[in-house]
């Protein structure tokens, strides 16, 4: 992580880097508040990929010609950037498609050779489907069990349940860092620490934290960590799995194919060193290069500043939104304990109707179960509407959102 002086974000300057905000949608300036789903991309990221495609497009690692070398350098340099970004070593950084693939990789490669019949895997009720299904599949295959830490009504994890589960014997824990619905920032460092004292390995789903706050794998101490490029200004189709060196070295491969091998014979093969052991076939070269540029962009702003900006927006939004009659906001109102994600419902309106109407006003928010159906069940709702912020969002946009919600309320007689 680069140290950048703490200072307010220059949003006007930032917005100029994002071509999507230079167009009007339905004749209105575009208000994008679905950043927890995916972020927008700045010109710098788009240009980095175009440069690759236009100037040194080639495959990597095995090309003996100049452009191939250049592509290899750029790809591996991106890995170094990502490693620094989370304070890891480059060989601990595996490029995958997205958070989902990262978690599946661990479930398949580590899970299938370490989880045995009767073992327990600990999750929470606030997990994204990507951090549930891989463990369900694994548990079914191995006849293992899943346990889930519940939440309080304010959206915070029940820590006594966590300790109870750990005390009763858990083999592995997979935990979201920041909930994509509640915004809850879980105390991952403390939890990893406690888990390790009890011999439990921990994967952190950092899909909603890595883009929005400083994330330091050494500080957290986790064994694995997963996140997606497309949620942090990077392109689609690229994500990251971090794993501790010793773990990765001892894991068998996941996907088999070119580049992940050392030697291949007809009926046996040996594996390449990490991280390449886990990168089979031609990777998303342009995607990795784009992600490197996204990391540069975020570093220039400074992740502490990103976090601070979002905290202020969230505080501002919570204050204003709480005054809307009939609104129901989920999760804690303490902005020290939540990220820039606000889920809510308005009276008995279906969240889809809400999102559709706001779309007509030029505002993009999300509505539905947010790939967290078990959490919806826990909250007793069919879904929620969700506004989520990033570096380019402003208080003015939140005012506009609140105004529109007031109008919706009238129309729908909430």
């Amino acid at each position: 992580m680069r140290k950048v002086p703490r200072k307010p974000i220059d949003v006007e300057k930032i917005r100029k880097d994002f071509p999507i905000f230079n167009q009007k949608i339905k004749g209105m300036p575009y208000i994008y508040l679905d950043n927890a789903a995916t972020s927008q991309r700045p010109n710098q990221v788009i240009k980095a990929m175009n440069d690759y495609y236009q100037m040194y497009n080639a495959t990597i690692h095995r090309a003996l010609y100049e452009l191939g070398e250049k592509a290899t350098d750029a790809y591996e340099e991106s890995r170094e950037k990502v490693a620094k970004f989370i304070n890891a070593s480059p060989e601990e950084v595996i490029f995958v498609r997205n958070t989902t693939e990262a978690i599946n990789l661990v479930a398949y490669s580590w899970g299938r050779s370490n989880i045995k019949e009767g073992d327990k895997i600990l999750l929470t009720v606030m997990e994204h489907h990507s951090n549930i299904i891989p463990w369900q599949l694994l548990a079914k295959e191995k006849k293992a069990h899943l346990e889930f830490i519940d939440i309080y009504d304010n959206g915070l994890l029940k820590m006594d349940e966590f300790e109870k589960f750990i005390g009763e014997g858990i083999r592995f824990m997979s935990l979201v860092h920041v909930s994509n619905v509640l915004g809850t920032v879980n105390p991952v460092k403390k939890m990893v620490d406690y888990a390790h004292k009890n011999g439990v390995l921990v994967l952190i789903d950092a899909a909603q934290s890595a883009p929005h706050m400083p994330v330091d794998v050494h500080d957290i101490g986790c064994d694995f960590l997963a996140f997606s490029g497309h949620k942090m200004l990077g392109p689609t189709g690229i994500g990251v799995l971090y794993g501790k060196r010793e773990l990765l070295e001892n894991m068998g491969p996941f996907l088999g194919g070119g580049d992940m091998i050392k030697e291949v014979h007809l009926r046996e093969a040996s594996w390449n060193e990490i991280p390449w052991k886990f990168e089979a076939g031609t990777p998303n070269i342009a995607g990795a290069i784009g992600l490197g540029a996204a990391v540069d962009y975020l570093n220039n702003i400074g992740m502490e500043n990103v976090k601070e900006h979002e905290k202020e927006l969230t505080k501002y939004a919570l204050d204003k939104m709480m005054r809307i009659k009939g609104i129901n906001i989920y999760g804690t109102k303490n902005v020290e304990l939540r990220g820039g994600v606000i889920s809510f419902n308005l009276g008995d309106m279906h969240p889809h109707d809400l999102a559709s109407i706001l779309d007509n006003e030029g505002i993009s928010i999300r509505a539905g179960h947010h790939c967290a159906q078990p959490l919806m069940d826990r909250l007793g709702v069919v879904g929620t509407a969700r506004a989520s912020f990033y570096i380019y969002n402003t208080e003015w946009e939140i005012d506009y959102l609140v105004n529109s919600l007031e109008k919706v309320r009238e129309v729908f007689k909430v």
């Binding site: 279906h350 969240p351 889809h352 006003e361 539905g368 069919v382 729908f412």
Partner: protein
């Protein structure tokens, strides 16, 4: 088909309300607040339930037949204004029709009745009741050996 009903129901409300949205006409909001034919039927001849996995909308349709004629129909479930309004209109439209006639209804009948244009995603909401109805009729015909 359907046109008749939609124009009757739409009345003055067609078009956007307060410029908020082209698809949330007064009719749709009214039907969301006060759905038609909402409820259950005792010992229905046809009963079918389906969900829209994108949004979790869930609709159940129950039908009482008199020979091949739909004597009574009710729906229940949970969903957005579009799917609820669509269910109200659909049940209204098929009442008194034969099941064969009902099977012939399609997307355009629903859209005409709703009187709005919509995106692909919302289309799924609008068509959920019709899909559920057809599912129910087909499985009834299957069971009763009439196909």
């Amino acid at each position: 088909m359907g046109n008749r009903l939609s124009s009757k129901l739409l009345g003055e409300g067609k078009g956007g309300i307060q410029g908020m949205s082209e698809i949330y006409t007064r009719m749709i909001i009214d039907l969301y607040r006060n759905p038609l034919n909402y409820g259950e039927i005792e010992k229905p001849d046809i009963k079918a339930k389906d969900t829209n996995p994108i949004c979790g909308d869930i609709i159940e349709i129950q039908i009482k037949l008199n020979k091949d004629i739909i004597k009574d129909v009710k729906f229940n479930g949970k969903g957005c204004a579009i799917s609820m309004a669509s269910a109200s209109l659909l049940t209204e439209m098929i009442k008194g029709k034969s099941i064969d006639e009902s099977l012939k209804m399609d997307k355009n009948d629903i859209l005409d009745a709703l009187g709005i244009k919509m995106s692909l995603v919302r289309l799924k909401c609008a068509l959920l009741p019709l899909r559920t109805l057809k599912m129910g009729i087909y499985s009834y015909l299957g069971k009763s050996d009439k196909v």
